[in-house]
Each structure stands twice: as structure tokens, then as C-alpha cells.
């Protein structure tokens, strides 16, 4: 039986410090100037910058700015989004020069004092074909993902109950299970920008998730795929992927572990 991890019964009543509530209270509004790279495939031959000025509040995020522009100023501004809290991976874009999720980029992080005006530049992620405004074609990205066989491969008879896996074995690949396939990493990678053939960090992260899963038996095949000229060896450890990952995945570390697995497989 599992150890009881429940804490002791908490107190019925406590004294609350005066400061509770964080920033849920009122926060002054401020001006935001948003410079957005717009591109309409039916009219433009190349993207151009468009500037918008809106008034925003303390807990607002870049996604809120985009929404405000779309909903109140220009309905044709196009971008993907769904969950609005960093779990679906729809809205990776380049904000002030770095890949992030718009829904996870707080305006106040671009600001020194709570009422300072904020300037943001927003453009589509780089390296995938631009479709419209902030929307790119994700197909090549998912193609790389599919190529590394991102599913559990096993042989022999299935057990009647679950496969047993120790907590330690489960922990080895925990980090890489967090991936939401947002493409922030792959499209921040200078090697991916070059010719777009590199599998890219996201595909490797997802391969890692299975290669290091003690239940999986397809690791060798995936390693073979990543031993390719466009595989792990193209990574130049630039760490842009790790810096960009909104899920805090240690992407470069995962890539290093795959490289090492390939080395041991080949040399040992």
C-alpha cells in the first residue's frame, strides 16, 4: 500500500497575514504599444509592421492585448489560441524577440514600474512557412514528430493488469512528458532555421520520452532515426530551445541524453 502522504489535519482557523491575495486586487492600468508583424496572403507579398495602442491592466497577458486588438480595433488580426493558460500549445509566437506563449507572457514582466507604458513586438515563429499574420504551417513540425514513432512499442503478450514501473523508472522521463507540442523550441533553434530539415528539439524531446520509458521496446528504432544526418548530431547546444520552452523542460539535457544513449549503443 502506498505511504500516506497526507499532511496532518490543518488548523480550523488561522491568522492571515495582511498581505494575502497577491495581485488579485486592483492594479492600475497602463498603455501598451504593440508592434505586430502582419501578413495577409491574399494581399501582401511580404509581412509588414503595424502598430496598435491599447490600455491594459496588471494581470493581463500578451494574448489579452491581441484579443483586445482583434475584438475592438481590427478583426482581421489572425492568431491561434485556445486554452489561454499555457497548456494547449496553440499560441507560440515571437514576443520581443523570443519565442513564448502569448497566454503566458505577462505584460508586467516587460515593465519596471506598475504604471509604465509597455512596448511589445509580436511576430510569427520562425522557420515554418508563414500562412497569415501570426499563423504558420505546423505540418512540417508534426511530420518530424510522427517520424520518431511517438507511441509505446512493446512485444509479447499484454499483461492483464497494468505494466509495473518503479517510481524511479517513472521519474527518468518525467520531464519530457510535459511537452505540449507548441513548437517554441524547434522554431527558436538556429539549426532549424537554416534549412528546416533538422528534426528539431521537440521531436527529440518526444523521442526521449519513449526511449527512456522502461516499458518501451522501440528505443533502438528511434535512436536509429535520430542517428540520421538531420538527427541529434545537428544540435549545436545553443540552448535556445531550453530557454524558450514554456513548460520548463530541460530540452538540451534531453537531447544530450539521447546523444549519450546513441554513443553507448554504438560504442559499447
Amino acid at each position: 500500500m502506498a505511504e500516506n502522504t497526507q499532511a496532518a489535519e490543518p488548523a480550523s482557523k488561522i491568522d492571515l497575514p495582511a498581505s494575502v491575495g497577491g495581485e488579485a486586487g486592483g492594479i492600475p492600468s497602463f498603455q501598451v504599444t504593440a508592434k505586430i508583424a502582419r501578413f495577409d496572403p491574399e494581399r501582401d507579398s511580404e509581412p509588414h509592421w503595424e502598430e496598435y495602442r491599447v490600455e491594459m491592466h496588471g494581470t493581463d497577458r500578451v494574448l489579452d492585448v491581441l484579443h483586445k486588438i482583434k475584438w475592438e480595433i481590427d478583426g482581421s488580426l489572425s492568431f491561434r489560441r485556445s486554452c489561454a493558460h499555457g497548456v494547449c500549445g496553440s499560441d507560440a509566437m515571437r514576443i520581443n524577440g523570443r519565442n513564448r506563449l502569448a497566454c503566458k507572457s505577462l505584460l508586467k514582466d516587460f515593465q519596471k514600474n506598475p504604471t509604465d507604458p509597455v512596448e511589445i513586438t509580436v511576430e510569427a515563429i520562425k522557420g515554418l512557412p508563414l500562412e497569415k499574420d501570426l499563423i504558420v504551417d505546423m505540418e512540417p513540425f508534426f511530420q518530424s514528430y510522427r517520424e520518431i514513432m511517438p507511441f509505446l512499442i512493446t512485444s509479447g503478450q499484454e499483461p492483464t493488469k497494468e505494466r509495473v514501473q518503479s517510481q524511479a523508472d517513472r521519474a527518468i522521463f518525467d520531464d519530457t512528458t510535459k511537452c505540449i507540442l507548441c513548437a517554441s523550441c524547434t522554431t527558436s533553434c538556429p539549426v532549424f532555421w537554416t534549412d528546416g530539415q533538422y528534426f528539431g528539439p521537440a521531436a527529440i524531446v518526444n523521442a526521449h520520452r519513449f526511449i527512456f520509458d522502461s516499458r518501451d521496446e522501440g528505443g533502438d528504432m528511434r535512436l536509429e532515426v535520430l542517428n540520421d544526418r538531420e538527427g541529434v548530431w545537428r544540435c549545436r547546444t545553443t540552448f535556445n530551445c531550453t530557454d524558450a520552452c514554456p513548460r520548463g523542460i530541460q530540452v538540451t539535457k534531453a537531447i544530450a541524453e539521447v546523444k549519450q544513449a546513441l554513443l553507448t549503443r554504438t560504442l559499447a
Partner: protein
Amino acid sequence: MAKASTGTLYRGREGMWSWVAHRVTGVGIFFFLLVHVLDTALVRVSPEAYNAVIDTYKTPFMAFGEVILVAAIAFHAFNGLRVIAVDFFKGGPANQKKLFWGAMVLWLVIMVAFLWRHIPNSLGGAF
């Protein structure tokens, strides 16, 4: 094949810029090496030819070039060792930024020491 959306620079951090520098220095050293082997090959032609070329290395202008060269080699070397550490050591990736700044400190120390030796050396020869 499609690439850039717009032309703005990606604001990478230590990892990206160190790689850019590593690449630039690597290619730079490579081209220097091509030339360097060729000029050294002059020892097979005649001592005069060799000495003539080598003497140009001793001008203040070239002294400056040598500083650049040593700086490039030292950077490439220390950052290369950092890359190797990232690749092979368990804590490498997590500490890459510290390793980078460590490499930079080392680079600075080496450069100061080298300049301390090299400036009087090369200037001394010129005057």
C-alpha cells in the same frame, strides 16, 4: 525552403551567442590555418622567403592581428571545452550559463597574461 517570417534578430542568450562566436572563430581559425600552413611551407623554398614572410608577422599591424587570433583561439578553445562539458557531464546542461561565464573569465585571464607578454614584445621589436 521557407524560413524567416520577418527579419528581426532572435534574442538568444548565452547559449546562442556563444555558438555564433564559436562558429565565427572556428571558421576564422580554419582560414588562418590554411594560410599559416602555406607560409610555413616556405621553409621548403628558402630561408629568405620564409623569413621575409615571417617578418611581416612582426609588424605592429600584424601584432594586432595576432591578438585577434589568440583571442579567437582562446575563445574557441574554452567554449569548446564548455560544449564538451555540456555534452558529457551530468550537470553540464543545467549549468551551461555558469560554464560559459567561467570560460569567459578564463579567457580574460589568458588574454591579460598574453597581452602583458605580447605588447612589450611586439612593440619592442617595432621601435
